[in-house]
């Protein structure tokens, strides 16, 4: 019994290891390629440590422009989709019960509709509206920014709605009623009572909306017009020739993500520790100031965060001093020597073959049918059968 338990436990860990290797391995290897010097992103063979791909990235006009457009689209999408999501969530609590299921299906559907379809329908519909209003091709309605924000908000609002509904379910509607009874206007009741309650959910919906907008490709690829976002630029680059500069960008996004995640974890951990300290505190301590443990003590995520920060800063610092030129030159030299060696070998081989051939033709011309004939094809390792060669000779 004990052994079978052990087997199960070991197999669980092996499975977890394989799973996370599949999940994180590609990102790790991609990050490595950002520091390797060959012009094609590869982790093997390792040639030279270099930071040049980062400077290449920062000099790329199209990438920088893409980031700018992505931020613009992201802000627009946050505003539009969070407000639509909030309105949609509030409406869900009020709508006529018979209509509720239909309404819910309609506002949840955009999550399931393929992004390509949303992009196309947005493009086709607003093109038609544009024509019906008699506006030209350069009007506001056919502007790439407008179309992208509209297209993305169609489904991102559904994500926001789901996040907001979860919080709204815990809201006590009588609070709003109390505010109204006390003479607040509807707008005031919303701003002073409901909105502060919804704030955490609105914040996480905004983050979600921005991330979804930032990484969207399928919808944006039909609507971007004159405003290619970062994702669009990346896709163009990846499709028509890839360079380690893209790995450099990916590496920075990975690092930023890890930072954000660790920061979030450290914050949660700290809050937990404060709550724990409060629980044990006496009344007197609560009235005065509570002894809160320092930021770093027993807070693993915070410690990791500081460690990562130190490593990052020192790597960036050393990147200004470090120059891979010597190493690149060495590798270059070595490659040159290798190539020369190979040429020399080929040359020797050819000379040897020629000598053999001459010897054979001189000594035993009768054996022509059976002996492998080494002509000027010897460099190809005798891929041609001797008989073929004979035929071509004749």
């Amino acid at each position: 019994m004990m052994t079978s338990d052990k087997i199960i436990r070991v197999s669980i860990w092996v499975y977890l290891a394989i799973f996370f290797a599949y999940l994180l391995g590609p990102l790790l290897i991609m990050s490595l390629t950002a520091f390797n010097s060959p012009g094609f992103p590869r982790a093997t063979p390792w040639e030279c440590l270099t930071f040049d791909w980062f400077s290449a990235l920062f000099q790329d006009e199209r990438i920088l422009n893409g980031i700018k457009n992505s931020v613009l689209v992201g802000i627009g999408t946050i505003i539009l989709s969070v407000s639509m999501g909030l309105a949609g969530a509030l409406m869900l609590t009020q709508i006529w019960p018979k209509l509720r299921a239909t309404y819910y299906t309609i506002i949840i559907a955009p999550i399931l509709i393929p992004g390509v379809v949303i992009g196309i329908s947005t493009l086709v519909f607003w093109d038609r509206v544009n024509r019906m209003l008699g506006l030209g091709a350069d009007s506001f309605l056919s502007n790439g920014l407008f179309l992208t924000i509209i297209g993305q908000s169609t489904f991102i609002a559904s994500y926001c709605m789901l996040v907001l509904v979860a919080r709204l379910q815990r809201y006590d509607m009588t609070l709003t009623e109390a505010a109204l009874d006390l003479g607040a206007t509807h707008a005031q009741a919303f701003r002073k009572v409901l909105f502060p309650f919804m704030m955490p959910a609105i914040a996480s919906a905004s983050v979600l909306a921005f991330l979804a907008s930032f990484e969207n490709y399928n919808t944006t690829t039909f609507t971007f017009g004159e405003y290619p976002t970062l994702t669009i630029e990346l896709a163009q680059k990846v499709r028509y020739g890839i360079t380690p500069a893209i790995s450099a960008l990916a590496f920075m996004i990975v690092i930023l993500t890890v930072f954000a995640a660790l920061f979030n974890e450290a914050n949660i951990k700290r809050k937990e520790m404060v709550a724990e300290a409060r629980k044990d505190a006496t009344v007197g301590e609560l009235a005065g100031k509570i002894e809160v443990p320092g930021i770093l003590s027993r807070n693993t995520p915070a410690m990791l965060l500081i460690l990562l920060l130190v490593v990052t800063v020192s790597v960036i610092g050393s990147s200004f001093v470090y120059s891979p030129n010597q190493c690149i030159a060495d590798v270059h030299e070595q490659k040159r020597i290798e190539t020369e060696l190979r040429i020399q070998q080929l040359r020797d081989q050819r000379a040897k073959d020629a000598a053999e051939k001459a010897a054979k033709e001189g000594a035993a011309p009768v054996q022509k049918q059976t002996a492998p004939k080494a002509g000027n094809n010897s460099g190809f390792g005798g891929v041609f059968a001797p008989s073929t060669l004979d035929n071509s000779d004749n």
Binding site: P26, M84, I120, T122, L234, A250, I253, E265
Partner: protein, 306 residues
């Protein structure tokens, strides 16, 4: 003003009520319903240059749908074999990607859902981090690995398993790995959410009654997790059938995904109605497939997105 509207305005105030109603109507009608109807309408029209739109030639026609099935008129073929094959392959591959993801993710979701502790939080973090990174970059990462001189080939040739580099991209292995990779999180989270709420005592009880582990899963955990499983499967299936970035980056030169055909109609051929028709076919087929499977397993639409 009808009674229910009057009551609605009384409850929300004129200003707030109007803003709310306006936003909801803009979203549901202006962004969801009308564009889809407009696309449907568009798919039944011939491809005309802008001045002729609305003119006498602008009539309803089934031409665009006929094209998908029978190919160009006078093309000498009975059926549009190329496009139909791409369509069929897309659907079958999407189903396989979904099943692969389900098999891969169910144990993880079960493990995360039924265990507590610090390491679970770290695992959850490690799950989420790849999903904050761009879809394009994830595909790019896989391309580095599966490329002809990529890590995997170097490893396989270096250890002597293969003599020559294996072309993963031409054989579509890279594509399937990429699609599976792209939507892991969407499969894990719905299942995890459901399994987390399963009382561990139920599993203990089943074990005490002598059920082997596979029967515990078959009779207790899986029936309980059915809404999560169907939700995850639906999302992964729809997203991988509608994926565009992964096939463009990881697909071989000769193999197309159906969305790439739509993309070509729009961007290379400038034939919008044809593209719209293909999009409609994809959308309707996917929805019908999902509904059929949900009917088969007796799951409700309302469970999706929970």
């Amino acid at each position: 003003m009808p009674g229910f509207l009057k009551e609605y305005y009384k409850r929300n105030g004129t200003m707030m009520g109007s803003v709310m109603l306006g936003l909801v109507l803009f979203w549901t009608v202006g962004l969801i319903i009308l564009p889809q109807l407009s696309m449907l309408d568009f798919s039944f029209r011939p491809n005309l240059p802008p001045p002729e739109i609305g003119g006498p030639k602008d009539i309803y026609t089934l031409e665009n749908y006929k094209y998908l099935i029978f190919g160009p008129e006078g093309g000498g073929q009975d059926y549009n074999a190329v496009d139909l094959a791409v369509f069929y392959r897309t659907l079958v591959a999407a189903i396989f990607v979904t099943l692969f993801n389900l098999l891969l993710c169910y144990p993880i979701a079960y493990y995360l859902g039924q265990n507590k502790g610090n390491h679970i939080r770290i695992f959850a973090l490690m799950l989420i981090i790849p999903y904050w990174i761009n879809e394009i970059l994830r595909a790019f990462a896989l391309r580095i690995i599966f490329g002809e001189t990529g890590v995997l080939n170097t490893l396989l040739v270096g250890t002597g398993i293969f003599d020559t580099p294996f072309d993963f991209i031409r054989n579509d292995i890279a594509l399937y790995a990429g699609l599976g990779y792209a939507y892991i999180l969407l499969m894990i989270f719905p299942i995890y959410n459901v399994i987390e709420s399963l009382d561990h005592n139920q599993i203990e009880a089943a074990r005490d009654l002598g059920a082997p582990w596979w029967r515990i899963h078959w009779r207790v955990v899986i029936p309980y997790a059915k809404p999560g499983i169907s939700s995850g499967c639906t999302m992964v299936f729809m997203l991988s059938a509608g994926a565009l970035a992964a096939p463009q980056i990881l697909g071989g030169p000769s193999s197309l995904w159906f969305t790439q055909l739509i993309y070509q109609q729009f961007n290379d051929n400038s034939d919008w109605p044809q593209g719209a028709a293909y999009a409609i076919v994809l959308l309707v087929t996917c929805i019908l497939l999902v509904l059929a499977v949900m009917r088969l397993f007796k799951v409700n639409m309302g469970d999706i997105g929970k």
